[in-house]
């Protein structure tokens, strides 16, 4: 089946390659969800002088306003107007002669322009001009018939409610239905796109987050990778943790492509463990990406400098994002893009807790993390997450999102009280696919970073 690009590569991915050509697609959603922008985006992406695009407004939006707003969009090329893109108004036809007037007008426009793509916006508004249901169904039948004769792709845009999908005849006539909606969770509003119907074609199911930009709709398809080969089987080499004694405890570091969770309470040294990991790789000419949601760039630069590393190391890419403005879908795509750009071999995400806070839906977060980890594992990229535990002492619970199952390695950092003194202890709880020392060791943080010390007995110290 031939496909028509929506003008957005990732949306085309969701649709299994694009809209189905020469078909009728309904674009539905509440006002303000970006239906018109999506339709115009498709129109401009496909219009050519030989097979022009035709945009037909009806009665919901004044024609002039549509053009004025359209102009502010990057893809709205005014040079195409009147050459390969034609805007027209069905308002007069429908007010003057009802639905038969609309049909006559469309018939004339199809003959006059022989378009390759036609948008009718708002399609729903036409329904109120039908005397009864039967007339509207007759109108639909004839319009669909006329649009089927020639190779023309049509987008019917409408402010349909979800409940209307079952009883509106447009939904039965349409070959595809794309839904746009905005959902509010606490103080956040997130936009979701979903494909509700795509006749004769596979598509990526579920809700896909999107943003409206001057370049049109930018979609972040839901990442839902299936589990493939296990990392421990795929890996063939070890990667240093950046801490000599820890490498030893792990029998020569982590497997490349593995996922490591560094868990511990606030101030235990998790960020520092992450920095050790990234800078040790950088020294071996393995590029790394350090994503911080914990600290600002300046704060992190200070920490990095304090331990003698270079903030502007060519093999280290720092990404800092504010946790209050993070959308996990977008962030994961941004991270994957950056990993690809710099050819990263090591990735640190500081911290997992910030991602949990930023994602109201725990299932979605798991899906994204799982997919990110799988994609990196396939490429032999090692990923490290830091995770802050709730308890300061005597940690009893690790992760509410099942991260310890996804992780190949789990390293626990703890505070221990020794009289009036506070000490730090490190233990490897899990290291998939390799033996590891079960010893709990004391560690110290100096200007040289983390140094592992002697084994420590928590009972004698804390008791």
């Amino acid at each position: 089946m031939e496909r028509l690009s929506t003008g957005n590569v990732r949306l085309d991915e969701v649709l299994g390659g694009g809209l189905v050509s020469d078909a009728i697609t309904l674009v539905v959603g509440a006002p303000g969800t970006g239906k018109t922008i999506l339709a115009e985006q498709c129109l401009f992406a496909n219009a050519t002088a030989e097979r022009p695009g035709l945009y037909l407004s009806t009665v919901s939006e004044p024609f002039g306003k549509l053009l004025r707003y359209g102009q502010s969009l990057e893809f709205f090329d005014t040079a195409q107007i009147g050459r390969s893109v034609f805007y027209d108004d069905l308002g007069e036809a429908v007010h003057g002669s009802g639905l038969s007037g609309v049909l006559e007008r469309i018939k004339g426009l199809l003959k006059e322009h022989a378009p390759g793509i036609v948008v009718i916006d708002s399609f729903k508004a036409l329904r109120s001009f039908a005397v009864d249901d039967a007339e509207f169904r007759r109108f639909l039948h004839e319009l669909a018939g006329r649009l089927t004769v020639v190779a023309v792709s049509s987008l019917w845009v409408g402010e349909y409610e979800p409940s209307e999908a079952t009883d509106s005849p447009e939904f039965a006539v349409a070959d595809g239905v794309i839904g746009l909606e905005m959902r509010r969770t606490a103080e956040r509003s997130t936009r979701y796109l979903s494909v509700r119907k795509l006749r004769g074609s596979d598509f990526r199911s579920g809700d896909h987050v999107y943003r409206i930009t001057a370049g049109g709709l930018v979609v972040f398809p839901r990442l839902a990778d299936v589990r493939d080969i296990s990392t421990s089987e795929a890996a063939s080499e070890r990667v240093t943790t950046g801490i000599a004694a820890l490498d030893e405890a792990l029998e020569d570091g982590y497997w490349s492509g593995s996922t490591t969770l560094i868990a511990g309470p606030s101030g235990a040294g998790k960020t520092l463990m992450g920095l050790h990991f990234v800078f040790a790789g950088a020294a071996l000419d393995e590029p790394g990406v350090f994503l911080t949601l914990q600290e600002s760039r300046t704060q992190l630069a200070r920490v990095i400098g304090r331990f003698g590393w270079a903030f502007d190391h060519p093999n280290v890419t720092i990404m800092d994002r504010s946790p209050v403005d993070v959308y996990v879908d977008e962030l994961v795509y941004e991270l994957l893009d950056r990993i690809r750009e710099v050819g990263a071999r090591r990735v640190v995400i500081d911290s997992l807790n910030d991602l949990v806070v930023a994602t109201p839906d725990p299932l979605r977060l798991r899906e994204f993390i799982h997919s990110l980890v799988r994609r990196c594992a396939r490429l032999g990229i090692s990923v490290m997450f830091t995770y802050e535990t709730m308890e300061l002492f005597g940690i009893t619970r690790l992760s509410e999102i099942g991260m310890s199952h996804i992780a190949d390695n789990v390293v626990l950092l703890q505070h221990v009280q020794h009289g009036s003194e506070m000490r730090r202890a490190l233990s490897v709880l899990k290291s998939r696919g390799s033996p590891h020392s079960a010893v709990i060791s004391e560690f110290k943080i100096s200007t040289h970073g983390i140094t592992l010390g002697e084994p420590i007995d928590l009972r004698t110290i804390q008791g």
């Binding site: 020469d22 030989e50 097979r51 199809l110 022989a114 390759g116 006329r146 004769v149 020639v150 190779a151």
Partner: protein
Amino acid sequence: VLVAERDRYAAELFEYFLRTEGYDVCVAFDPASAEQMFAERGPDLAIVDLMIAGVGLDLCARLARDAGARVLAMSDLHLADEALAAGASAFLAKPIVPLQFVSTVRDLLGLSALTRRSVVHLS
């Protein structure tokens, strides 16, 4: 040009595109009228919808083989091989792209239509 087409909307558009190009067009909606029109008008080209009354391939064969017509077959189904085997000179998949449709007709008629048009013009 004879258009033998089951779909009235399609027939209306084909007729429009062909007339715009300057061709004389007659339209039939069933095989019997198509054959009758063919006999009466002797068109240079017959455009046959292979789904017409479910017997488009037969009509295509009768017009092409028996009556020696040049036939352009069209269908929503991929019936190119069957159409050519039945004697059609060309096949177009539906839905049609107007420019492609017109240029196919032009190619099929080639010089014969040009000559006829110029003869009509001269007379």
